[in-house]
Structures are given as structure tokens and as C-alpha cells.
């Protein structure tokens, strides 16, 4: 589980330290406060699992144990392309670095903006058999990670990490050079041309599910769906049961996940008791599509996550397309699925209803108060700050009509107030 993050120049975050991360974390804050950036860096960091060696020439020792991005994430997307797609980047950024594959199938990287004498100005990433590097890695490699940062030479350590070094036993440090993910202003140090962050905790996730707006509208990749079909016990049946808890009208339906007409993707099909023809889930409203896909993917993640293979669930805007009542049931179902499982959750939201539901879930122990915190983020002049809210803070604020999302006074047209006594509503659990 990741317990802290120390961030140097990732996207809009010039520097930031977040501690006290828990099993269930809710990220709230204004637009451009770093919520999505945090999800993306958690995604990238957790997918850096492909063993390799970082080879430099100008320091001793020249070889460091490292990792790089795996080729496919849990949903079988290529990670770098997935993030580029999120931001509308059609192509690889080419201005700030050179990358190629040499005869020994090592990736050679040159970062011309770093001084020529700097170790990371030019370095190689070398993989081991059978996971040799390929031409596709040239397109997709934007990151390496140090697995033994205790041995990192001083030239690899930005000032922020020198002064805010995590003191937890398990750490990994990640380095990104694609400038579209690097904070680009006020460079004063050679490492300011890289995004670098340290995650610390007591172990890393083996399976990472990143669910966002795009995932809700896409079909499943064939490789993901086929793997689930083969390996996730009663996958379709469990999806049907979860969907029925979120949409009671769908009780009794059967779910099939099968290839779409394209052949490369798979879609969900619902056989309702009173209909002879199955309906594709994408013929339903956006809320049902969102719920179906997040539940199908999460059931697969939870199934795979075991004690030795923990999972990480990153969920952006769970409120998307959801009616308030359905939203409550969806959140309850997600909490039910991850309860007691080695799955760490990060959920970013703009919705006061999501926060109110989380508070309700904390008050009724649907979520563990000891293992859940909300973090309000504040990003000013590149400095990320966070303030945590526990169950008592959330309940107190919401019962008084205060909005945890907001730092300054706003002239909102509506004010919400949590009922002081939230009664257990069976339809919400």
C-alpha cells in the first residue's frame, strides 16, 4: 500500500508531499488542483514493473536496478498511449528527448536539456531475456523507476527529495522525461527537466485499474475480456448481481460479455427476463454503461488481488452520469467489493453527493473510519498542499452546511446540508 507521495515537477505540481494515505482515499479540490495528476502518477508508478537496468556512463556504479512500464495495464491498454489519449495527444512528444533501440536491444535515451556531464543526459535501459525491448518500446517508454533509491547517487536526487526523503522501508522513485508530463517553469536545477516522484509504503500493487470517463464509454479490450472470461470465477454472474444491487430494476437479468462486431473488442450484453433479444450495455444510458464497466473491471481486479498480488483502483469522477440514488448504491457496491481485500482505492471527485455518501458510509461503517480519509487538494504556484478530513471532520462540516471542496467563499446557488442523523436505508446498502 502506498502511504506517502513526494512529488517533483509532475504536470502542474512543482512540489508536493502527501502523507497519511489510507486504504480508501477520496481526492477533492477545485479544478486544476492536481486530482487527475495524482491519479496519473499513481497509475504510471504502479505500472513500472518491468525489470531492467539503468546504465549510465558518468557515475560509479554505472548500473542501477530499475523498472520500466509494462506493455499493458489491467484493462490491456498500453499505458503511455492511454495517458496520451486522455489528453488528446495523438503522437509521442519528440522535442525534448531522443530515444532509439541499439543492436543489443537496449533503449538509448538522450535528454539534451540536461547538461552533457549529467548522468541522466544520456543513459541506457537494458531489459533481460525473455522480455527484450522492442521497437514499440521506443514509442512508449517515458519512465524508469529506481527500486533501490537508497543507493541513488546524488545526481539522481532533486532538492525536494533530499529534504523530504520518505522514511518508510519500501520506496520507489519514478522518473519521467516526456515534457508533456513535466512542470516546465522556473527551471533552476538540472533535474527540473524531469518529473520525479517517490512513493513510499509497505509494498506495491500488482494490478492497477484506472477507470475514467474514457473507460466508461469504451468497449473492453479483447485481451482483458478473454482473460477475465477464462480466469475470473463466475465473472458474468457476479456482474449481474452487482448491477442488480445498483439498478434494482435489473434484478433477474443475465449478463454476457462477448466480442463486438469489430472482433477486437468485447462488450456487455444484458438478457432481461421480459425481453427475448439481449441488449448491448451501450444501448443503455450513460449511467448504466458507467456502472457496468466499472463493476465488471473491479470484480476482475478484486478477483485477481490476493495477499501477494495486491490491487490499486483509481477512479476518476464516480459521479459521472449518475443519478443521486444510483450513485449511492454504486458507491456502496464498490465498497462491498473491496471490503477486506488488499485493494487500495483512490477516488477523485467534484461531487458533494459523493462526499456525502462517503460520510454516510463512514458513519455506518460501510467504510472503515480508520482506513479512509478524504484529502482536499490545493495547488497554488505549483505547490501542492493537502488537508485531510476524517469521518468526524466530514460529518461536522456537512452537518453545518460547510463544503469541504471549497477553500474560499463562493456564491453558490445551492447549499447542501447533511442530515444530522442519517438513518440506515436498506436501499442504499
Amino acid at each position: 500500500m502506498i502511504r506517502s507521495l513526494t512529488i517533483h515537477r509532475f504536470r502542474g505540481i512543482r512540489e508536493g508531499v502527501i502523507k497519511n494515505l489510507r486504504v480508501f482515499n477520496v481526492l477533492i479540490g477545485p479544478n486544476n488542483s492536481g486530482k487527475s495528476a495524482l491519479l496519473e502518477l499513481l497509475y504510471l508508478g504502479s505500472l513500472s514493473r518491468r525489470t531492467c537496468q539503468l546504465i549510465t556512463k558518468t557515475i560509479d556504479p554505472p548500473v542501477h536496478a530499475a523498472t520500466m512500464l509494462v506493455t499493458r495495464d489491467f484493462l490491456s491498454y498500453a499505458p503511455t498511449e492511454r495517458l496520451r489519449w486522455r489528453h488528446g495527444y495523438a503522437l509521442r512528444e519528440t522535442d525534448s528527448f531522443l530515444i532509439d533501440l541499439d543492436k543489443e536491444q537496449n533503449l538509448i535515451l538522450e535528454l539534451p536539456d540536461l547538461p552533457a556531464t549529467y548522468p541522466l543526459h544520456r543513459f541506457r535501459l537494458a531489459a533481460e531475456a525473455p522480455d527484450w525491448l522492442r521497437k514499440t518500446d521506443v514509442q512508449r517508454t517515458i519512465l524508469f523507476s529506481l527500486v533501490q533509491p537508497d543507493h541513488a547517487p546524488p545526481e539522481f536526487i532533486p532538492p525536494l527529495l533530499a529534504t523530504h526523503r520518505p522514511d518508510l522501508p519500501y520506496q520507489r522513485w519514478h522518473y519521467v522525461w516526456d515534457q508533456r508530463w513535466v512542470y516546465r517553469w522556473n527551471d533552476t536545477h538540472p533535474l527540473d527537466r524531469l518529473a520525479i516522484w517517490a512513493e513510499a509504503g509497505d509494498g506495491r500493487a500488482e494490478h492497477v485499474l484506472f477507470f475514467d470517463f474514457h473507460t466508461a464509454h469504451a468497449h473492453f479490450e479483447g485481451a482483458f475480456a478473454q482473460r477475465c472470461y477464462r480466469t475470473v470465477s463466475k465473472w458474468e454472474e457476479r456482474i449481474a448481481q452487482s448491477m442488480a444491487r445498483v439498478f434494482p430494476d435489473m434484478a433477474g437479468m443475465r449478463v454476457n460479455v462477448k466480442p463486438t462486431p469489430t472482433g477486437t473488442t468485447w462488450g456487455g450484453y444484458l438478457e432481461l427476463p421480459d425481453r427475448t433479444l439481449p441488449l448491448e450495455i451501450d444501448q443503455f444510458g450513460d449511467g448504466a454503461r458507467h456502472a457496468f464497466k466499472v463493476l465488471a473491471a473491479l470484480i476482475a481486479l478484486v478477483d485477481r488481488a490476493e495477499q501477494q498480488e495486491p490491487g490499486l483502483f483509481l477512479w476518476e469522477d464516480p459521479e459521472l452520469f449518475m443519478h443521486p440514488a444510483t450513485l449511492g448504491r454504486l458507491l456502496d457496491e464498490v465498497a462491498r467489493l473491496v471490503a477486506g481485500k488488499p485493494v487500495q482505492v483512490f477516488m477523485s471527485t467534484q461531487s458533494l453527493e459523493v462526499i456525502a455518501h462517503v460520510t454516510r458510509m463512514l458513519q455506518h461503517n460501510v467504510l472503515s473510519p480508520e482506513q479512509t480519509l478524504a484529502f482536499r487538494l490545493n495547488l497554488r504556484d505549483g505547490v501542492l498542499r493537502s488537508s485531510w478530513f476524517n469521518r468526524e471532520n466530514l460529518a461536522s462540516w456537512l452537518e453545518s452546511g460547510l463544503d469541504p471542496r471549497v477553500l474560499e467563499d463562493i456564491d453558490a446557488p445551492l447549499q447542501f446540508q447533511l442530515r444530522e442523523e442519517v438513518h440506515e436505508d436498506p436501499s442504499l446498502c
Binding site: 502523507k19 482536499r376 488537508s387 468526524e392 471532520n393 461536522s396 460547510l402 477553500l407 467563499d409
Partner: protein, 235 residues
């Protein structure tokens, strides 16, 4: 600048509502903590997420019950504040200081985190023989001004002089009750309820307070609530 006010009840809210006109440009948000026992927990849960994140200005309006001392009240709040800072990983070793010129208001100031909190402790009894010092004492004191009493009567369409009302409320009726074996009125709130009953105001003490404040001119309000105004100024 927003000032967060932690009050024992709704009467304080009405008082702040009236006093805020003396502080143009400041916003006030009052939290009814429903009693002194919950003020500390309200401070912790409301202020905790703000500390170290943004400027915080907070005012506590506290009554002093019989048996309580100012020192003990201050210590209790001080413990709560230090608890917040410890919980949020902030090191400081500050103490409350008396607000200059105000003997019953104390300020806790931490410039490094832009946090300032003032506690105002109601410390005057409006009439002799009362056991507590409360916000109702301040309201009652204002209501016992002849002009205010006269204005209140006028609002109720009563053709009675202010002095007569005061005489009834503070002397004749309490004396009558005592002569008939009733225990003496012991709290300002008792007199507030009696006053409201005499004027046929079918209202709660907070609403009575709002009516009293509306019946007093600005000079009188500023005089009567001078210590609270000074406490707010200290923020």
C-alpha cells in the same frame, strides 16, 4: 476575511448578526455548538482541516457556569487547540494572552500558520443573585435600559412605560414568586423568559434577543457588547 464563530447556542448567533454591521467587509459564520461541552469537539472537527492551509480567524463565545473559572475554561480550549496541531503535525508552543484592554477575552495567535483564535468569556451578571454569567446577561442588561424597554413595548403595541416593565420584571414579579414559596430566579435566562412573557412575546430566548437588539440604537449596542466587539477586533 471570514470569522468562524463557535457559540454555545442560538442567542450568540443573533448577537453576532447584529454586531457584524460594525465590521463591514468581514463575513461571519456562526456554529451553534449546542452547549459548552461540544464546543471543543466542534473546534477540532471544523478547524482541523483548515489549520496550516489557509488563514483562520475564529471566535469562541463562552458562558461561565457556576463553579467554573476563566483559567479552567482557557485551559480546556488550549488543550483542544494543541490537540489539533499535534494531529496535523504542526509544532507550536503558544499560550493564550489577554486581549489588550479586555479582561474577559483571550487571544491565541500563531502567525506561522496564520491562525488566530479569540475566546470571549461572558463574565458579568446582569442582576445580583444570579449564578452564571452568560450571553443572556448581556442581552438582559440591554433590555433593562428604559429606552430599549419602551421600544420593545411599542413593538408589542403595549402602552406601558419602559420603567414600569423593568420594575415588573426585576422586582415585583420575582418578589411575588418568592413570597409564595417559589425559589428565586437564578439565571438571566429566567428573567429573559419572564420579560418575554410580560410583553406577551411568545418567543424563545434567541428570538427575544433579536428583538432586544433590534430595539436598541447602535451606540447602546456597542456599549453593551463592547467586550465582544473588542474580541472581534483582536482577530
Amino acid at each position: 476575511m471570514k470569522i468562524l464563530v463557535f457559540a454555545e447556542g442560538k442567542t450568540e448567533e443573533k448577537v453576532i448578526e447584529r454586531l457584524k454591521q460594525f465590521f463591514p467587509g468581514f463575513a461571519f459564520q456562526t456554529f451553534d455548538c449546542k452547549g459548552k461541552d461540544k464546543i471543543n469537539s466542534e473546534i477540532v472537527t471544523k478547524l482541523g482541516p483548515l489549520v496550516g492551509q489557509q488563514p483562520v480567524r475564529a471566535l469562541i463565545l463562552r458562558d461561565k457556569d457556576s463553579g467554573e473559572t476563566i483559567a479552567r475554561i482557557i485551559q480546556s480550549v488550549d488543550n483542544g487547540l494543541k490537540g489539533i496541531l499535534k494531529q496535523r503535525g504542526i509544532n507550536t508552543s503558544l499560550q493564550f494572552q489577554r486581549v489588550t484592554g479586555v479582561w474577559n477575552a483571550f487571544v491565541w495567535d500563531a502567525p506561522s500558520i496564520d491562525f488566530r483564535l479569540v475566546i470571549h468569556i461572558a463574565s458579568r451578571r446582569s442582576l445580583s443573585g444570579l449564578t452564571k454569567c452568560t450571553i443572556d446577561d448581556l442581552v438582559l442588561r440591554l433590555a433593562l435600559n428604559q429606552n430599549v424597554a419602551a421600544n420593545l413595548a411599542q413593538r408589542q403595541s403595549l402602552n406601558v412605560r419602559g420603567q414600569v416593565i423593568i420594575q415588573k420584571v426585576t422586582q415585583e414579579i420575582p418578589a411575588l414568586l418568592q413570597r409564595n414559596g417559589f425559589p428565586p430566579l437564578s439565571e438571566a435566562k429566567d428573567y429573559v423568559r419572564l420579560y418575554a412573557a410580560v410583553l406577551r412575546m411568545h418567543t424563545s430566548p434567541p428570538v427575544f434577543a433579536a428583538n432586544v437588539l433590534a430595539s436598541a440604537n447602535n451606540n447602546l449596542v456597542q456599549q453593551n457588547f463592547a467586550s465582544i466587539i473588542a474580541a472581534i477586533r483582536a482577530l
